[in-house]
Symmetry: C2
Subunit: 332 residues, 2 copies
């Protein structure tokens, strides 16, 4: 179960909804739930004005909705295969929008090998936000096994896939707050608009990670979720953060490198996989990840204390101050 | 896949979304989809201002959302066991509302033996409708078998559970458009606010019905869905409609009995089970339904033509004119 909103709402939802959870829901402490021994499900709801701009192209909205859901489950070692779709449209939504939305779904159904099972579409009475409520289903990439947030142990290595912070910079480009050279801006915008769930890594995570989740709220925030669920501390090495060329160019323009890294590590919407791997499994994890062509970078280690806390460390061993660990999605 | 909105949108959704359907989605022609051989799923999204009043008590909104989804699958001979919940709240939604909503879920989890698996909660940026997007999961009440809309044959009997038209009258009471004695108004309001899915009938439907669906858009509209999917005609006998005491009292006050019956048969929100049963299976269907204490009434038969059409017949054999077969939920 996930919550987008002020952090006090996390507590509110846990207080009222966690007692309703069945066995497959695991106390709502994870992004994913078990429908039976084989099928895993997850749900992310996207709302215009919160998760996307109302004027975003409908095919991109559709693809983002599908991809953020796929990201949730591939990070657990689950192979997506189907989804249910709930769609709340506005009185102004026209056929062209629906056609574009369906085109985006079709495109990414091909990419990820998933298909639509069914759902519900409603036009709301007054003008409110567009709501895309998607429930994704997947099968365990390694039979009988998925990776939750709570399996990390002190000494485990922390890995992240891809690069971190691009989507956050892309949002600034989309909002008109950041100007760079055209190629970098296009790249960053793309990273914000079209998440790239690391589907190919699912089997490797399932086989070799001790705990995992996808990075959506921000690297440090999501590392915190893993630390809290596993009862370990996590020390992240700021200088190890994998950065794209565009993010590196942006960093080079910033006055304070540490502030820049904090921003990238807290910006959210990365949709990369963050996972813990036992030292004994680490060589094979790296080797198998290389075969998938998905880059993985060691960015830290699990410690025995302080349990549930993340330390963001500079290369000289000093602690970098992080005021806010992440964002529960943007508010345009 | 279901659609709430002007009927031309049914075609729009079919045009753009049906091509996206996987095998389990059966071309999106039914309310339910197959996740695998055992698990069936369905999704109904409820939006304030369309499916409920924003000021309705939150526990009733929760129970309605759960029950309309349960209704979809029990009508197919499926036993509900779990659900995923997507919730879009407004900036004004407070803890009291969330607590009430969770209380309603807890209450009906007990009644129907279901539990929460997970989901997502978002507060929208501006004030729009509350959205409850619920995905229900069930297991086949008869292993390996569920009942779709498309199995009816000419000669099959048409049955409906419970009573018809109460929720529609209840909506008029809620809207202040209908005044009767207090007891009747309370009963009708209750029928509108809290659907009573006929869970107990699921195994009987699975074992003995040739086609089935729940009555949500209106009896005649939903009979039309069954007729169209099965390629049969359906002749409904207006004088056989099962009516509650309150609905009978209301009818007695109406100038034109036929108009009254049309209203009850097109009002929607009944959440009863409408099914077709082969003549040879009919005695056992009735006998087994009686054991569940759910009333079932024979209200018509399937004919070979006109395929896809419903005739609403008076007791003298004349055709009753029906201008609009049903409603795609109310617009307060």
């Amino acid at each position: 179960m996930s919550v987008d909103g002020p952090s006090d709402e996390f507590g509110l939802i846990a207080k009222y909804f966690a007692p309703l959870a069945g066995k497959g829901g695991r106390g709502l402490k994870d992004d994913v739930a078990h429908l039976n021994n084989d099928i895993v499900t997850s749900k992310d709801v996207l709302v215009s004005g919160v998760h996307f701009f109302p004027e975003d192209p409908p095919d991109l909205i559709a693809r983002k909705a599908l991809r953020v859901n796929i990201s949730d489950i591939v990070a657990k070692g689950v192979d997506p295969y189907a989804y249910m779709l709930g769609l709340v449209l506005t009185p102004e939504t026209d056929e062209r929008w629906v056609a574009g939305f369906a085109k985006g779904l079709a495109q990414d159904q091909e990419v990820f090998g998933v298909s639509l099972l069914g759902g519900d579409t409603t036009k709301q009475a007054a003008k409110g936000p567009i709501v895309v409520s998607l429930t994704i289903f997947g099968k365990k990439a390694v039979p009988g096994h998925i990776v939750h947030r709570d399996g990390a142990m002190p000494g485990d290595n922390i890995f992240v896939s891809g690069t971190i912070g691009d989507a956050s910079l892309g949002l600034s480009v989309a909002s008109g707050d950041l100007s760079m050279n055209q190629a970098d801006m296009q790249y960053l915008l793309g990273r914000y608009r079209i998440p790239e769930p690391k589907h190919a890594l699912a089997t490797v995570v399932a086989a070799k990670a001790s705990a995992a989740l996808d990075v959506s709220d921000g690297l440090i925030a999501d590392a915190g979720h893993l630390a809290k669920a596993s009862g370990v501390g996590i020390a992240l090495d700021a200088s190890s953060l994998p950065l794209s060329d565009a993010a590196q160019s942006w960093c080079a323009e910033q006055i304070e490198m540490q502030d820049a890294l904090v921003r990238l590590a807290t910006g959210g919407d990365d949709y990369e996989i963050l996972c813990a791997v036992k030292p004994s499994d680490t060589p094979e994890f790296i080797e198998r990840a290389q075969l998938t062509n998905v880059a993985v970078t060691k960015i830290g280690t699990c410690t025995d204390k302080p349990a549930g806390r993340v330390k963001f460390m500079s290369s000289d061993g000093s602690l970098i101050k992080v005021v806010r660990a992440g964002y529960n999605h943007f508010r345009p």
